[in-house]
Assembly symmetry: C2
Homo-oligomer: 914 residues x 2
């Protein structure tokens, strides 16, 4: 029989940190801490396998589980010397979920399980505090009823409020033990009515109900949304941790807290956390009471009441554990602890989430301290997080002016770095709606909860008036890499009225506001955002590299990444400016220069339209001859910016009707300019209309039917190249023929292109080394890749179109069902964001392998948007591509992702520590 339950107590555990698949993150680390001799309340973990089986069996508990839990419970009773349901000193347990990947706020927790009408008396007797015992019982009933029996929390809050009103009590603490005893009776009555059955008195029944509820919570909506957001598979399941209760709410010598071993926003090496004296469980994270700092250092010395000051012995022990955990895990930890009557218990440790900035600094600090090696540094920074280092900031002068003008409304905690300005929304729902209409939205809440997730995804920044650095808002925003300010207590947020008051100002929905997630400032009005420090060094050259330690670490990281990766990184850029930016970010060439964007420019569109509406070839040639010098200038500018690096230029791709006006009024204007009747133009446009333009007359199909268009472009490319070479610029043009699905399309157009190159060569006597290749974006091109490879000098996968055609999804229309598909897990990820390895990826693999069968060593890249997605970059590395091309701002992301892919390949699961 399978082992489904893992025991831990008194310095010995059956599991360890390497068993996250089986025990979940929390359970694995509880076992590990137990083994390290760190004080952890005894307990046991029910394996994720049990959860998976539970769903496979449509909600039946797996065979053998009951027996194993029974044995583990017996072990706990023995370890604690207490008995479950005992009337004198009952064993109480917490039941918590714990999946492989940490999912904050997603899963449900039950405390004080084991209490019933008799055991509560035992607890009262044993603890000598009847009020505490009944308060615990009351909380347990409420939590259990909510999570297991489906009776809403509010039902009980109403009873509590009524009781307080009857007793003229202001706080819960003003209620007596007798009041609470009465309340327990009312709670149980409520449960009987609302759930249709009595509250279970049998602790074992309670436990099995809780276990099933944890299992079920794996599939609740919030959990699924979270997994969708982070592309976590649905079939992992969650473990269940059953652990002896310890109490942080037995008096002033008790406390509960959460902490990071370093500052998760900045990476600064200070012990950084929050605690609440005389509090239980989730009180800190919930953000209901504003907690106190752990250390003096973190508060800058000026906030009293830190744990360091109030409970120095426990603090010292915690500090020692902090050191041990960091030394053991070799990374910054996110910990939870409870102090029961002066005795410290660790309830959790896990690798802490952090901002990109913090990730960079922590990794380098640990490296400089000799804890981890370079490889580990490279692996510690999530590529996507680098975008934060490039994310905009506010100009200090703008902020200065705002300060002078009294527009700084509040200062909260800098929970997610980066600057954001936008319009205010007071609910997740409105944030989603407003963002859907194109607004940049700041989500403003008193505090956030998992229900706000969709709104947080939609917002450009998040602001709360309550909560600390470990509050829901802060943790989630950092995870998403979004600017976030929390605990800005000077703000009075009234979501029902749709109003925010602060510093005498009133803001309504849609009013402009700015937040600086690096300083915590909340500023009235929309401040302009500006390039980050790294950008200022790299792109603007407005800051010397040596003056920015951040830049220096960024540069070192990139240097190591470049030394590690095999995959080259290019950029998709259509202008000299974009090309220059991307080059500053480390692009090693242009992988996709779209020529149609040039066609849309103000000064060209008239000539383009004339070309399209031409009645015959000679008229079309005339119009094209006007475009030629402009395109030549375009290309010359890009070649100059990319001096010495290859530039892949895609010949015209979109259907011609995309260039035409759409409104009757525009047609009339164009007709006047072109001196033809508007009717003529409209008729011509109607002729060009297509039922499915994505599958229509575009790409090389234009090149075949209107060869003079591609001829003009080829001429512009080679003439521009010759001009540049004359000026001493090194030019490496790669002409890319789009949408090839047959060999003949390629060979016909390539022959014309090469003839033009030859002719320009003869005329100018300047030799330009060039390649003619093709974009592989039609499924058929992958299927005949060997034959195409014999002709083409390079392939570049256009994974956007390839995804569209392989799935049969139009990007413009997929929104009609994509949401439902992700929701029901028909798709794990949006295939336009992360490459579909199984389907589209199989075609890519086929294209690479067979293309190289046609031409040994064929150069192969990718220029779809997947080129900037780390998971996809790893795939492209694995299938042996030569390069990936992405948007300029994703170039550093792709460089790091490529390095991590190379390390993963060498890998073998080594920890990479020094």
């Amino acid at each position: 029989m399978d082992k489904l339950v893992y025991f831990f107590a008194n310095g010995a555990a059956e599991g360890n940190a390497g068993m996250k698949d089986v025990l979940g993150g929390k359970g694995a680390n509880l076992a590990e801490m137990t083994n390290l001799g760190i004080p952890v309340p005894p307990g046991f973990t029910i394996s994720t396998r049990a959860c998976v089986r539970y769903f496979e069996a449509d909600g039946k508990m797996p065979e053998g589980l009951e027996e194993q839990v029974k044995r583990a419970l017996a072990g706990l009773e023995k370890a604690q010397g207490k008995r479950f349901g005992d009337e004198s000193d009952p064993l109480l347990v917490s039941v918590r979920s714990g999946a492989k990947f940490s999912m904050p706020g997603m899963m449900d927790t039950i405390l004080n399980l084991g209490l019933n009408d008799r055991a509560v008396e035992g607890l009262a007797r044993a603890g000598g505090d009847r009020r505490f015992a009944f308060d615990s019982y009351r909380r347990f009933i409420q939590m259990y009823a909510d999570v297991v029996l489906g009776v809403k929390k509010q039902e009980f809050e109403h009873l509590l409020v009524a009781m307080k009103r009857a007793r003229h009590a202001r706080h819960d603490t003003d209620l007596s033990a007798g009041d609470l005893e009465a309340l327990v009776r009312r709670y149980k009555e409520k449960v009987r009515k609302a759930a249709g059955r009595p509250f279970p008195e049998d602790p074992r029944e309670q436990l099995w109900g809780a276990i099933a509820a944890v299992f079920r919570s794996w599939m609740n909506e919030r959990a699924r949304i979270y997994r969708r957001q982070y592309a976590i598979p649905d079939d992992l399941g969650t473990a269940v941790n059953v652990q002896c209760m310890v109490f942080g709410n037995l008096g002033e010598d008790c406390a509960t807290g959460v902490a990071f071993t370093r500052n998760p926003a900045t990476g600064e090496n200070v012990f950084y956390g929050e605690y609440l004296p005389n509090a239980q469980g989730e009180d800190v994270v919930a953000g209901i009471r504003t907690p106190r700092p752990i250390s003096r250092a973190q508060a800058g010395g000026d906030a009293g009441g830190s744990l360091e000051e109030t409970m120095p012995r426990c603090f010292a022990q915690l500090l020692e554990i902090r050191g041990r955990l960091e030394a053991h895990y070799k990374d910054m930890q996110d910990i939870e602890f409870t102090i029961e009557r002066g005795r410290l218990y660790m309830l959790q440790t896990r690798t802490g989430k952090r901002t990109g900035l913090a990730a960079l600094h922590i990794a380098f600090d640990l490296h400089e301290a000799g804890v981890i090696d370079r490889k580990a540094v490279l692996q510690r920074v999530e590529p996507d997080m680098l975008v934060q280092l490039l994310a905009p900031i506010f100009d200090t002068r703008d902020k200065e002016r705002a300060r002078r003008e009294g527009r700084v409304l509040a200062k909260g905690l800098p929970a997610g770095p980066g600057a954001a300005s936008g319009v205010v929304a007071f609910s997740a729902k409105r944030a989603v709606e407003m963002a859907g209409k194109g607004a940049r939205v700041l989500l403003v809440r008193a505090e956030t909860s998992p229900e706000d997730l969709a709104g947080m995804v939609a917002a450009v920044g998040i602001l709360t008036s309550r909560g600390g650095m470990t509050s829901h808002a802060a943790v989630v925003a950092r995870g998403m890499g979004k600017p976030c300010v929390v605990g800005a207590e000077a703000l009075l947020v009234d979501p029902d009225a749709g109003r925010l008051r602060a510093a005498g100002k009133v803001l309504k929905e849609g009013d402009a506001l700015s937040i600086d997630g690096s300083t915590g400032e909340v500023i009235l009005g929309a401040l302009d955002t500006h390039p980050s420090e790294v950008q200022q060094v790299l792109v603007r050259r407005a800051l010397k590299a040596e003056r920015s330690p951040l830049y220096r670490r960024y540069a070192a990281l990139m240097e190591w990444a470049d030394a590690t990766r095999r995959l080259k990184i290019r950029t998709n850029a259509d202008t000299p400016h974009d090309a220059a930016v991307a080059r500053a970010f480390g692009a090693e060439g242009i992988g996709l220069c779209r020529t149609e964007h040039m066609f849309f420019a103000e000064d060209r569109i008239a000539a383009v339209r004339e070309m399209i509406l031409s009645e015959d070839v000679s008229q079309r040639r005339r119009a094209l001859s006007k475009l030629l010098p402009m395109q030549r200038r375009d290309f010359a500018g890009i070649f100059k910016a990319m001096d010495g690096l290859p530039v892949t230029i895609r010949l015209l791709d979109p259907p011609l009707h995309e260039f035409l006006p759409t409104q009757p009024e525009q047609f009339r204007k164009l007709a006047r300019e072109m001196r033809v009747p508007a009717r003529t133009l409209e008729e011509k446009a109607a002729q060009l209309h297509e039922a499915n333009p994505m599958l229509g007359h575009r790409g090389c199909r234009l090149g075949v039917t209107f060869p003079e268009i591609y001829d003009m472009q080829a001429r512009a490319i080679f003439e521009a190249a010759a001009q540049c070479v004359k000026k001493g610029i090194r030019v490496l043009p790669e002409v890319m023929i789009p949408l090839v699905g047959t060999v003949r399309e390629f060979t016909d157009i390539a022959a014309r292109t090469r003839a033009i190159a030859e002719e320009v060569h003869r005329r100018t006597r300047i030799a330009v080394p060039y390649l003619v290749g093709t974009m592989i974006e039609i499924p058929r091109a992958c299927l005949i890749a060997e034959a195409v490879g014999r002709e083409a000098e390079f392939f570049s996968f256009g994974t956007n179109d390839l995804t569209q055609m392989t799935y049969g999804y139009s990007r413009d229309d997929v929104g009609k069902f994509l949401g439902a598909y992700l929701e029901r897990r028909i798709l794990r990820r949006d295939p336009f964001q992360g490459i579909d390895e199984e389907g589209v990826g199989r075609l890519v693999r086929m294209g690479v392998e067979e293309g190289r069968r046609g031409r040994a060593g064929l150069k192969v890249g990718v220029c779809g948007e997947h080129g900037g997605d780390p998971e996809s970059v790893a795939f492209f590395h694995r299938v042996g591509l030569d390069y990936a091309s992405c948007s300029p701002y994703r170039v550093p992301v792709a460089r790091l992702a490529a390095a991590q892919a190379a390390l993963a390949e060498q890998g073998g699961g080594g920890s990479g520590t020094a």
Copy 2:
């Protein structure tokens, strides 16, 4: 060095009939006849390889060719005892093209080559006929100038007319030798002026010019159009046949003719041909003089002047050769001959083109005569031709009435069987235009030429006033399987005036006319067409099988085909009527029943629109509940028609917006009916609009997002099935989920479908064996076929959509470039007509193999339109499909094609003769 020239003379040839690839059809058969001892003028054939090399070298003659031609010429001179360009008795040759596949009228021919100013005198002296010599010279100059030098024929015709006028001559024959001599001078002057250089006097220069012209003619537009029509590759090249001239125009003991060894329209076993006394070369085929019959039998004894009567000795020799050729080739032959001064020469033999009717009868006659076996019979009938046997005929009563009313305008030759009625077009151009607008067009010409090809393709029938059974119109129409009447001399066709006069009636463009290609009748007005004899037996049961010999042979052919083939043939049918027709034609089940066609019916569309425009699920369910009984009736009708055979029903596929009105007026009407504001409907419709509906919200994507639609359909299917079973009908429903691209789409919908089947089963207590499978039409489905195969109980390839997505071609838009793609041979065939084996076919192969890896013995079929295309059917056989499904009228075609595919597999290239 490669052998490029093959000699034949005096009973010995270097080639033979098996070398068509190298020698072309004509050259191979000339060699074969020579070897058989049949009198053939000596000559040599330049190989197709030389032509291919010529194009590869951009118009340079291949190395070695000159030397080999020189040697062959010397051989000819020796065989004939004459010398090329000789002044006393010159060797004259004909130069003809001859490709592997016969392409009537496509390639150019030059006669009398070798004449010049001195040789013509030699010819005059040797033949003793100065007039004949100069007439030959004149004709040669005209032909050569037209074909080689690009000087139009008309230029010379003008000169001829002027000369005739000056001499008051009515016929060419009224001109004297001196007149012709003068004319030759004027012709040569014309050449000098029009071509800018003198007419070549050197016979060798003449020969090389002619060879190059034949090569080039391989790539002329007419030839390419023909090859496109018949899917003949462009890279085969043509051979060139150079042969000693024989003259059919040296006097009344001379003649030239063409013949079929049997009647090519009916298959009747009579020698069937035409000849012209004292005529040269192409005069018979050109249709300028109406030729005389070869045999008395063919003319029904009533037309005098047959070759049998005028030249009985030659006729006897020809009859003997006819017997020898049929015995040797074991098939009906199409021959050309010339009689020079009482001596017979064979100029060509080839397997003759025939109608489907003739093909059937000839094959059975040869079989019954013990010449060929059953396999050969199956191989001799082109599957596509069977459509002719099912093609409509006129009702004899209608024809009788037309006769009484004097509406039979003329009687021509029955050149292509089948009845057609339509509107008259007098030019190919107008025929194409009118057909493009949806008209059924009869192309009416005095005679047709290769320039008319496009119009013949566009027309439903062809009618000419001149020419015989072997005229261009007759040959091409038979090739296309189109009704055709030729040589209806009572018609006066004036294409310039756009007028047709006959029997005192005048018809203009667009007037209605009918032709009966089986009797030759031309009838005023549009007669209704009716089912053919085979149809009357099979579908109408209006004729007893034993009363139709045609039906009996058809039935035998089909029976043998069924015994031979492995691939099953199903039909695509959406109504009980179509299902019944298809069943009569031998369909073994329904491979595709499209449920959406039912939705469009008058009495349902309102409920469908209500369902689409529903605001919520309950409203949608209400609308669907109205559709349920209707769909149930539909399915019950189809199950009944298909009693005992499987019926594959595809769940709803098209995007919902297809069911909505498109015009504002229709919206207003619908709004009144539905009692909602028109605006609301228009807004809803606008919401449903898609940029690329082909890649949009359709197929199983509808089933996922609106499960209640598929639920209704599944319920209708299983309830209808239960009803039918109760009535003793055997029902085998196969529910097909369309557009599956992921496993989860299938499993989710299949689970719901099976649950409904279970529920109906429980309720009715009637067990219906059923399958749930999927349509494989998204490239991704082929790529994950193994996983899909584990879940689905059958696959059916939807090759229409699969072709669209694999190529990235929208069927609705491909017209914008498909013509150019076929023209430039980027595509060999329209991939929507014939399956693309290399690309789409590779996905199909992958889908079959991997699907069966997922489920051993998985049932796999195809239901795209390729199911009725013989070439595609052969492919489906080869990849191991279980069945192909096609439209009802293509079922016999597919059955025969499947049998031929099975034979080809056993094959080994055997001739299949008895």
